[in-house]
């Protein structure tokens, strides 16, 4: 690891000022579960200065305001797991964080770090996109809000500019009649990166007809987004296994339309379809 300057701002304004002043060599440190791995791995200079934001108390916590849940970026996966608000209004996010890493990683790792690191296998992102999350980015020159579905351009690359700090994640509460799920497939039962994942939300009316369907696969598309082609197969119909199988197949086709056939397609093509079907079945 190369030596670096260490800063620990106590407010968002201070952090933004530091980011502006230090420029491209500055790296934000939250839980450090991605940053430290990167710092140790890289021969080239990842960062000449580290801005440790964990002292900024306004960036911690989970709140509700009327129909919205607000999660601050420094909230750890463990805190999300224990949050009654998340359990009630975003159970699929709770399922997703429960499967991240190990207790140690969940105790340190934050939702903000998971989003900003932007790995294709980030487990909080598919649920957050399914929930319609928007994030707020702040810099020394102002702030802006971006839909999470438009935030990522490719793995590890986002539209965030240098100098921008993630300060808030917000999404509408899931209506009480909505059912949601998150499926993760890894190689082992803990400390396992998602080989594939799927977040799903289904809502049906009193007659059982699906009125809303949201499907966001993880670790399969160049960027995360809802697969509307598959969702449209479901809306207006009563759920059946055949329908769910068809939706799974559609997601698989869409995945291949983006990625083409490559060395791992033989495995992913059938399995993403299975995970989509299971995620939808789990929404019952």
């Amino acid at each position: 690891m190369k030596p670096f300057e260490y800063y620990s701002p106590q407010s968002v304004a201070e952090a933004c000022a530091l980011l502006a002043q230090l420029g491209s060599g500055a790296k934000i440190l939250a839980g450090g579960t991605d940053v430290l791995v990167e710092l140790r791995k890289s021969a080239d200079d990842v960062a000449s200065s580290i801005i440790d934001i964990t002292g900024i108390s306004s960036l911690k916590g989970i709140e509700e305001s009327s129909n919205t849940i607000v999660i601050k970026p420094l909230t750890t996966h463990t805190e999300i797991l224990r949050s009654a608000l998340v359990g009630t209004y975003a159970p699929l996010l709770k399922t997703a964080v429960a499967g991240i890493g190990s207790p140690q990683i969940r105790n340190r790792g934050t939702i903000g770090g998971n989003i900003m690191n932007a790995a294709a296998c980030a487990d909080t992102v598919p649920p957050l996109i399914a929930l319609g999350a928007r994030i707020r980015l702040q810099s020394s020159t102002g702030d802006r809000t971006v839909a999470l579905s438009e935030f990522f351009t490719k793995p590890y690359i986002t539209v965030a500019q240098r100098g921008e700090l993630l300060v808030e994640i917000r999404f509408p509460k899931l209506p009480s009649d909505a059912r949601s799920s998150f499926m993760k497939l890894g190689r082992r039962n803990a400390l396992s990166i998602s080989r594939l994942s799927v977040a799903a939300i289904l809502t049906r009316d009193q007659s059982g007809v699906l009125t809303d369907a949201r499907i966001v696969p993880g670790a399969s598309l160049p960027t995360w987004h809802r697969v509307s082609e598959a969702e449209n197969l479901l809306i207006g119909h009563k759920p059946t296994r055949e329908l769910f199988v068809e939706a799974g197949k559609k997601v698989s086709d869409i995945m291949i339309s983006f990625t083409g056939r490559r060395w791992s397609t033989e495995y992913k093509e059938p399995v993403i379809a299975v995970l989509v079907r299971r995620a939808l079945e789990e929404c019952h």
Partner: protein, 363 residues
């Protein structure tokens, strides 16, 4: 749930693997060990051996054996780590030979000191040598069960009489033979026997395999320390489970692909089921107090038992390890063709999922 059951994506199967294996080096080469037992004036004891303990517990076994012979409690013993400038080179810690070789040498060494101590005890008490024993930190009369002297009093007397309380124990393994051209011989002086049974649940739609139940049975001769034998058995199974299902080491163009434990996956506690251990005691005249081996035998049976269980569940046999997601689902391994994702930055398909592999670990 079991094979043949039509419904459900998850199928269960059971698999068995059995082995018998030669104990220690056998005809592979020279096979001898030294252990030194040195009793101090205050009744404490120092044991050292050329057999290296790298965490498997050999020092505990050797100390326990010395304590048994000297009739003392383990807290009197201190074990010195191997240093061939003061104890003979006793060969490598391999072939599950620590207890049988180092332990036999420890027994031999302790017996020498014991003979001296009893001799001095007889002089001290006037009781016939053959009616004396060392037991529970005392010199006792086997006839009256009377405690004649404490172990410390005895060692002090021994010191004052100028008698040596150090025993150099040497153990050379019994003769073995091997005829390389004809392919036969008495390759080992004794054998251990073992069996593992695994129950797996295979997700036939994803290839994910969970080991849900496991039993491990081993003939260890005599279990010198039951806790440590169970530890070896459970550790061996956990390691074998990793070998069977997870651990993969690939080399591409002479460069290893797995460079760290984010890519070289070993089982976590969430992947290892409760393991039922059954110790079979089949005492062997060749081993100290009848002990044989327990290290490696515990490790070699898990993977075959697991792949047999997978075959039982799915009807399809896997011939290459690890039995990972792809091999179980597709029957073969998937290999990245062409350049790594990091080298083809502009191709979307390379970026998609290799990204986690490059930075975050194995996807």
């Amino acid at each position: 749930m079991y094979r043949g059951a039509s419904d459900g994506e998850k199928k269960r199967g059971v698999g068995l693997a059995c082995s018998y294996r030669g104990v220690s080096l056998g005809a592979e080469g020279a096979d001898a060990a030294e252990t030194i037992v040195s009793v101090q004036t205050d009744g404490s004891v120092i044991v050292s051996s050329g057999v290296t303990d790298m965490g498997q517990g050999a020092q505990t076994q050797m100390s326990q054996i010395a304590a048994e012979v000297l009739g003392i409690s383990m807290d009197r013993i201190q074990f010195l780590n191997t240093n061939t400038s003061r104890v003979a080179d006793s060969g490598p810690t391999v072939a599950s030979r620590g207890t049988i070789m180092g332990g036999s040498a420890a027994k031999n060494a302790a017996e020498k000191v014991r003979a001296t101590l009893l001799d001095v005890g007889a002089e001290m008490t006037g009781v016939d040598l053959n009616d004396l024993d060392l037991e529970d930190n005392y010199l006792v009369s086997t006839k009256t069960h009377e405690r004649m002297a404490s172990f410390s009093e005895l060692t002090a007397a021994c010191f004052n009489k100028g008698r040596p309380m150090i025993g150099l124990g040497w153990h050379n393994s019994p003769p073995t033979s091997w005829h390389e051209e004809e392919g036969h011989g008495d390759a080992y002086f004794t054998f251990v026997y073992g069996a593992n049974a695994a129950e797996v649940e295979v997700d036939t739609e994803t290839g994910k395999t969970d080991v849900i139940d496991f039993a491990s049975v081993h003939d260890v001769g005599k279990a010198i320390n039951r806790g440590m034998v169970v530890g070896q058995m459970c550790g061996g199974v956990a390691m074998g489970l990793g070998y069977g299902l997870l651990e993969e080491f690939e080399i591409e163009d002479a460069i290893p692909k797995q460079l760290n434990f984010d890519g070289y996956l070993i089982p976590t506690s969430m992947d290892v089921p409760r393991i039922k251990t059954i110790i079979v005691e089949n005492e062997d005249p060749m081993g100290p107090f009848g002990a044989k081996s327990v290290g490696e035998p515990t490790n070699e049976l898990a993977a075959p038992a697991i792949v047999n269980a997978i075959a039982n569940a799915t009807g399809r046999r896997i011939y290459e390890l690890p039995a990972n997601l792809e091999r179980v689902l597709l029957g073969h391994k998937l290999t990245r063709q062409g350049k790594r994702g990091s080298e083809q930055k502009n191709s979307i398909d390379a970026m998609v999922v290799d990204s986690c592999k490059i930075r975050g670990g194995k996807a």
